[in-house]
């Protein structure tokens, strides 16, 4: 019948109109500056450097191996190695980056730096409100701006952080066990009587 579709359409429209006042399903707008949609766990924006503990400089995991710098497709990472060394999470002295700059206006969030890092030092952040009015250097972030704690990493990517923490803890435990075995062996070797050199054979004259 002529007009049937229009009447059904008008009923649907009226349902939309009245429903938008009572249910969220009929009014899905999120008013941006006041509200934000929470991001899913796998969201990624730009990289950041992870540090353990409270001191961002002493606890930073990066050892300036420069693998991420070489693998980065748009070459947005710039690293300068330090001259001295500082201990890493198992206690072994490692060099650290004196400078670690990422140009966020070049970074394409491909996550390759995260995938190749052998030390779990660089991970993807979810912060996206980074716009600035300085169009030349405003998006160049340095080491201090990039350093964020492991607690922050655990908050934004809980599953990944739990896995990384477990792995690092296991390696640390293995390294400590090995160190203990080595120490015991060395102690045993020290405590054992020294082998007396055989007395020189007296030659009968």
């Amino acid at each position: 019948m002529l007009g049937e579709g229009i009447i059904k359409g008008m009923a649907e429209t009226a349902r939309n109109f009245l429903g938008s006042y009572v249910s969220d399903e009929r009014l899905t707008t999120v008013q941006y500056p006041e509200e934000r949609i929470p991001q899913i766990e796998n969201a990624r924006q730009f990289p950041f450097l992870v540090f353990d503990g409270d001191d961002w400089h002493a606890g930073m995991r990066c050892v300036a191996c420069q693998i991420c710098e070489k693998e980065c497709p748009p070459k947005c990472i710039y690293i300068e190695k330090s001259k001295d060394k500082k201990p890493d999470y198992v206690g072994k002295p490692q060099i650290y980056p004196a400078k670690f700059d990422i140009d966020l206006s070049v970074c394409m969030s491909c996550q390759i730096c995260v995938e190749v890092c052998p030390f779990e030092a660089i991970k993807m952040d979810t912060e996206y409100e980074l716009s600035t009015t300085d169009r030349f250097g405003g998006l160049m972030v340095d080491k201090q701006q990039l350093a964020k704690s492991n607690d922050y990493y655990r908050k934004i990517h809980p599953t990944e952080a739990a896995e990384v923490d477990a792995r690092l803890a296991a390696e640390k435990a293995k390294a400590e066990a090995k160190a203990k075995v080595d120490a015991e062996a060395k102690a045993k070797a020290a405590a054992a009587p020294k082998p007396v050199p055989p007395a020189p054979a007296v030659v009968a004259a």
Partner: protein, 391 residues
């Protein structure tokens, strides 16, 4: 007390006229009658643009504008400021005088048509005996302006839009006028004031408005569809086609002239809705006898706002009609329906009140509707395509 609230504007005007010396009385009376039209209807226009944007937003599962002022209530002010401060661009090759005059020629007849609408008891600006004829004549003058706008812009798309707009408006004038012929026949006069008075009685549950009769309901629906087409309102807004030929005949207009076109389109919608209320919905009468304590002008504007909301509802629901679908609807469906409607009005008038009258009237509305509706749905007979030269 109730009487005085109803007649408050009339009393106000008489009081103000007392301050005016004798030989200025006529001019002052004219100005005092017309000033409210220039104040109220543009204000209603501002409110309608806001209602429309927020209403359409809610229909489309989003908020409307809600940043300017609480709940976006100051949005019309922001829109007005924007329209006034935009640069007025006139194309180099355009016909300057005609280009300038087109919005003016559009706005003036629309304001003229408000003069004959009875907005309340004793509240009509000009009480003409041929008020209905005047209204339709002046409404047709708006079509000239559409063509002036399209022609003077010297833009082929504007011209195309203007041609389509005129074709649409001329085609829908016929159902518009013929649907009011039924009412004129029954009441016997062309004066809007007397037509409203003829709908003033109450019988039983429903008032005696013409919309509560079968031919009146059909006539009202035809009138409203033709009214939507006359004011280029969705789903008939192809000439102005927002997403197709951008703005059609007023594509070359910016700033204040564009605001004038916009204003005139909405005011035209108000005027024609006002006429529909006068003809079919009982003008300024209350729906129930007991509600007559509420002033008459309140009822007129309540009905006007209700019709505006229905227009907004339809705009949010129905997709735009293509030009040929639009013309088919006008000539093949609406005109036969409205001619049969005139016969139906006469049948209703001359038969005795009772069940027989109702049955015959309803049959005279429903029968042609179903038959003509079926003819509109007929698919074209498709044959294998033959090419004359390409064989």
């Amino acid at each position: 007390m109730v009487e005085s609230l109803d007649q408050i504007f009339v009393s106000l005007k008489h009081a103000l006229l007392g301050f005016v010396p004798g030989n200025w009385q006529a001019l002052a009376s004219a100005i005092l009658s017309l000033l409210p039209i220039f104040v109220i209807f543009p204000t209603l226009f501002a409110i309608t643009t806001l209602l429309e944007r927020k209403g359409l937003g809610r229909i489309q599962n989003r908020y409307g504008p809600n940043r300017v002022g609480p709940f976006g209530l100051l949005q019309p002010a922001a829109d007005g400021l924007k329209a006034l401060t935009k640069e007025d661009v006139v194309p180099h090759a355009a016909d300057k005088i005609v280009h300038f005059l087109a919005p003016v020629v559009l706005v003036i007849p629309v304001f003229l048509s408000f003069a004959v609408l009875p907005v309340g008891r004793n509240l009509v600006a000009v009480d003409m005996d041929a008020g209905l004829l005047f209204f339709f004549a002046v409404g047709a003058a708006t079509e000239l302006s559409v063509f002036m706008a399209g022609w003077s812009s010297r833009n082929k798309y504007a011209l195309l839009g203007a041609m389509r707009a005129i074709a649409q408006m001329v085609s829908y004038e016929i159902p518009l006028i013929l649907s009011s012929v039924g009412v004129v026949m029954i009441v016997g006069t062309l004066s809007p004031v007397k037509i409203v008075e003829a709908q003033g009685t109450y019988h039983g549950l429903l008032p005696d408005w013409f919309v509560f009769t079968p031919w009146g309901l059909a006539g009202f629906i035809i009138f409203m569809i033709a009214a939507a087409a006359e004011s280029n309102r969705s789903p008939f807004d192809l000439p102005e086609g927002e997403s197709e030929i951008i703005a059609g005949y007023f594509i070359e207009y910016s700033g204040f002239k564009f605001a004038l076109f916009f204003l005139a389109e909405y005011l035209g919608m108000f005027a024609i809705s006002g006429l529909g209320i006068t003809l079919f919905l009982g003008g300024w009468h209350a729906p129930l006898q007991s509600l007559e304590v509420i002033p008459s002008w309140f009822w007129f504007f309540a009905k006007l706002v209700a019709i505006i909301l229905v227009f907004i509802w339809i705009r949010g629901t129905v997709p735009r009609l293509r030009m040929d679908q639009l013309m088919n609807l006008a000539w093949k469906f609406m005109i036969p329906m409205v001619l049969i409607n005139v016969v139906g009005a006469a049948v209703w008038h001359f038969m005795q009140p009772g069940l027989a009258r109702w049955l015959v009237s309803i049959a005279l509305v429903v029968g042609p509707y179903l038959w003509l509706g079926k003819s509109l749905f007929q698919s074209k007979h498709l044959a294998k395509r033959t090419y004359r030269f390409a064989e």
